[in-house]
Symmetry: C2
Subunit: 375 residues, 2 copies
């Protein structure tokens, strides 16, 4: 029974089609943000944005939470800076933060100028909200003196007035980036990352392809306002992976209407799934069904909690029963599978332990720690 | 500043590259599963799997939960059937279930035979676990009599022994599907859906492309054992959308180590994001930041709870502040944005109401219900 033509493709083309998924990365300039380098062939970085206003009392807690985001794979973190007081608080935080800090400025460029009195690594401005060209010139002059870089963050939801009537959203965003680029290039300033984001995946992809074809500045990519957790992860994964598969994107931000940790985890997982970040644990775990003898979800929560391994990639399989369990667990670097009244732990294809369910968490944690150390 | 060659692509090619994302769907046979048709140009269906053993006392509750999964977009649901007693319970459920039921059988084909005494819509068997050919023959004979269809579910973790040493996992899965297909075709039985799944995204994609090139049976697609919620959604989205973008896949199952509802939501969201399911609400919501005047996450939880709209697509924008808020909310069918001490509700670009934050949830729910009715 042969298909009716439209999918006929010689076997060699299958390989070629799949090869396109790992297209070589675009060559870009390197732009420094504190101790992080964006572009220039450096690893693709993951960022998030803090979601609460800063207060003096909360700075120590915020610093700790940044530390913990960093352990989960976050490379750089951005804060909204709505006023001068927030700029001063962020400035204090930038002196103690374990990650480079980006200040996000709209409406009043004087807030950006105040941020640049501190070791803030990067300033994000939006051409649609920053006002006249003179404002940008002042920010550039001070950024150059202090060694900070800029991000020009174009959003389809806040384009400059002159472009509001351009019907093709992707072209409007691309043109907005060119207008701003011209201003910066006239000033001889090139330490700039660009972003072109829309909540429409298709427009975002197209705008970024247009930009990547024409210019060599690094791109910060993401789907803006992607939505609540599940739909947000789905839409972000589709948009971001479509760009990364074309070799486009030097730093990524996943925008979700939930906490920054989920944004970071999603970003890191996208990079891992596309073989762009080999570090850490790759978890294979079964969805469980009426056949499972093993509480996979509870086990996962328990075992993975507190393990922040950042070394070479280790595949961990957590399986509920005997159908696919031993097969998957055997192929993984380390695996466990329920088997009747016992659980069986594998390391690289060899059974290393048989334990009771009560002992399984402790035993598996020991083996996992040992596996992480050995890599 | 022009890039260094490797991404140079004439503008026409950008359009072409993007066109590939919506490749026409492969033509396949139509296979009936109860009142659902898989393949044959019918809409791509979403399925999930029940995660607990069945018990007599729980059947009424399970029926209700199936009803609620159906309201969220689930089209068909599968149950593990480990023994004859479970087959009888599932049989009772199949008479009252609002969705077609699939029985998942391993190791003992007599359980499949018992299921076929009831209006169970489809039987899934795995060539790696079902034993000798005679077993399959018996199941086919009875399925033909009762009008049930089959799914041949190949898993890389449980291949037939004869293929365990084939190094290329994708080819091993493809060969397993052909061996089983030969058995069924000799019996003249064609009401069959196939699946070829691995926890490795690349192998899964390749195996399904090989199958789609050669045969016209509908494909059930998914990444098996994709993992915990966030990484599982990311890996499933990458794998499933890569296939759907090639026109491959007639029914999808997202395997997550969490509850069936999240699997259904993820499946539906993937179809929506790829314009394969136009119904329901598309949510654009901002991730919020220190600038937000509006509790977007709380608002989302409150407003979307209990709205199970399944009509034509409606875009809903829920935005925190004045930066992108009005722009996004204006482009959506219905939107709300925080604006100083008030919230502003838009319908198709027009401000329809200004309300206080306290009144905003009720007001927005009214407008959303009205918008859903009007479509």
């Amino acid at each position: 029974m042969i298909t009716m033509g439209q999918e006929d493709m010689p076997a060699a083309d299958v390989e070629q089609t799949l090869d396109q998924r790992s297209k070589p990365r675009r060559k870009t300039r390197a732009v420094r943000a504190g101790n992080l380098i964006i572009g220039g062939g450096f690893p693709i970085s993951v960022q998030t944005m803090w979601k609460e206003p800063l207060a003096k009392e909360s700075l120590a807690r915020v610093r700790e939470e940044i530390e913990s985001l960093s352990l989960r794979g976050c490379d750089i973190i951005r804060f909204a800076v709505p006023d001068i007081e927030s700029a001063d608080l962020l400035g204090v935080l930038s002196r103690i933060s374990p990650l480079p800090i980006v200040a996000d400025i709209h409406f009043d460029h004087r807030i950006a100028l105040r941020c640049l009195d501190y070791p803030i690594a990067k300033i994000r401005i939006n051409p649609g909200t920053i006002g006249e060209e003179g404002n940008v010139r002042e920010v550039v002059a001070k950024a150059r003196d202090s060694g900070a870089s800029l991000r020009i963050g174009i959003n389809a939801g806040s384009l400059p007035k002159s472009l509001e009537n351009v019907k093709d959203q992707a072209k409007a965003m691309f043109e907005a980036s060119e207008i701003e680029m011209n201003v910066l290039e006239r000033l001889g300033f090139h330490d700039v990352v660009f972003s072109l984001k829309s909540s429409d995946t298709e427009s975002t992809i197209r705008a970024n392809i247009l930009f990547a074809q024409a210019y060599d500045y690094p791109l910060h990519i993401g789907i803006t306002e992607a939505g609540p957790l599940v739909p947000g992860i789905v839409r972000s994964t589709i948009g971001v992976s479509a760009l990364l598969n074309r070799g486009i994107g030097e730093t990524i931000r996943i925008s979700l209407s939930t906490d920054p940790l989920q944004e970071v985890i999603t970003g890191v997982e996208i990079l891992k799934a596309l073989n762009q970040r080999g570090t850490g644990l790759a978890i294979i775990s079964c969805p469980t069904c009426g056949r499972s003898t093993f509480d996979v979800k509870g086990f996962l929560d328990e075992v993975l909690n507190g393990i922040h391994y950042q070394g070479p990639g280790i595949t961990v399989a957590i399986m509920g029963c005997m159908v696919n369990g031993p097969g998957e667990a055997r192929q993984a670097d380390i695996g466990i599978t329920g088997a009747g009244k016992m659980a069986v732990i594998f390391r690289k294809g060899e059974i290393v332990r048989r334990v009771s369910y009560e002992d399984s968490i402790t035993a598996f944690q020991e083996e996992l720690r040992a596996a992480c150390k050995n890599e």
